[in-house]
Symmetry: C2
């Protein structure tokens, strides 16, 4: 107990804030953003609302900080393994994405909805995360083993990300006989399949002009 108290007391304000954000993200996993209140966080953290306002200013800033942390977690947890074949690394990354959505379904869904509804803060955080995730596909495939970096493949990777999101959200709600293994393979396998569509289209277009 003494050790625990000492460790706790030695947390800097930044560490304490970070710890509270982690708690906020955990609470958001099974709740929509609307259901995540300062009161709930205060109760779960065992500290006063006044102290929380000290750390987060107001409810809007609190929500923004929690969602940014959640987006950072998503990006970190879906990082592909450093070694391996490009397609195996993509499969591992997409499988981690499914894990993330399954574990954080309510909060993730409310972020997606909030971003689409025109909430400017949520839209910005969502777009930033989406940009990091789609850029990463190109960074990770620096040798162009899966795809070339062209305007058309950029467009298709963004579409593939939207598709993956829709597929996983739909699958969590109703798997309809599709196994988890099959879902992972469809998510990872669809990227090279879509890129091949772009390549085939470019060949046809150039051969007809």
């Amino acid at each position: 107990m003494t050790v625990h108290t000492r460790v706790r007391n030695r947390l800097s304000p930044e560490e304490r804030r970070s710890q509270l954000l982690d708690l906020g993200v955990r609470l958001l996993a099974t709740r929509s953003l609307d259901e995540l209140s300062i009161d709930l966080l205060a109760e779960e953290a065992g500290i006063s609302r006044g102290l929380l306002y000290h750390y987060f200013g107001n409810k809007h800033d609190f929500h923004e900080a929690v969602v940014r942390r959640a987006a950072d977690d998503l990006i970190e947890q879906t990082a592909p393994p450093p070694e391996g074949e490009p397609l195996d690394r993509l499969l591992a990354s997409m499988s981690a994405y499914v894990d993330y959505v399954v574990a954080n379904y309510e909060g993730y869904l409310s972020l997606v909805k909030g971003a689409a509804s025109g909430n400017e803060t949520l839209r910005q955080i969502y777009d930033d995360a989406m940009t990091v995730l789609t850029d990463r596909v190109f960074v990770e495939d620096a040798l162009h083993e899966i795809l070339e970096d062209t305007p058309a493949t950029r467009l298709v990777v963004r579409g593939w990300a939207s598709m993956s999101e829709a597929l996983v959200l739909q699958w969590v709600k109703d798997p309809a006989g599709v196994s988890r293994e099959q879902l992972d393979e469809i998510l990872a396998g669809s990227l090279p399949a879509l890129v091949e569509t772009v390549t085939a289209s470019a060949r046809r277009t150039s051969s007809t002009t």
Copy 2:
């Protein structure tokens, strides 16, 4: 003029309502739903607000009726031609979809956003239209020349529809060097490519068990 007045006078209330809905849909093409007011429709139709409330009850019912009509238009305009190879018919249908989004960008975007934001009426109209459009893929391909009807292909077709929507909305905002012809081919070509992913995954899954 006399003929015009006589024709106009002979419209039944249903026909008059339908005519007003058409006008509403035309106004919605270049406006968000929030910008489409009863006042604007009254001004454009040259009739009183009172008469419009007679036809549509209130603003909510008016919006619902216009959006349902817009969704019906989308379904009708993207109907594939009755004859031809399955992939050519799919290409024609997707090309008509791009035409629709280009011509009705603002209204379509506001429907997509409204449906995602949790507006229950818009979500229902959007889901109904999406169901008709994805079901149609299976109905039109009754001979399974493009795809089998399985839970996994149903899931993938829904994901493909979300991807197509994201791709076209993104392309209209910023084509980034992707030609219209290439966009159409990517949209139509991606469906069989995605279905092949499902088939390949099913083969792998069954061979490992």
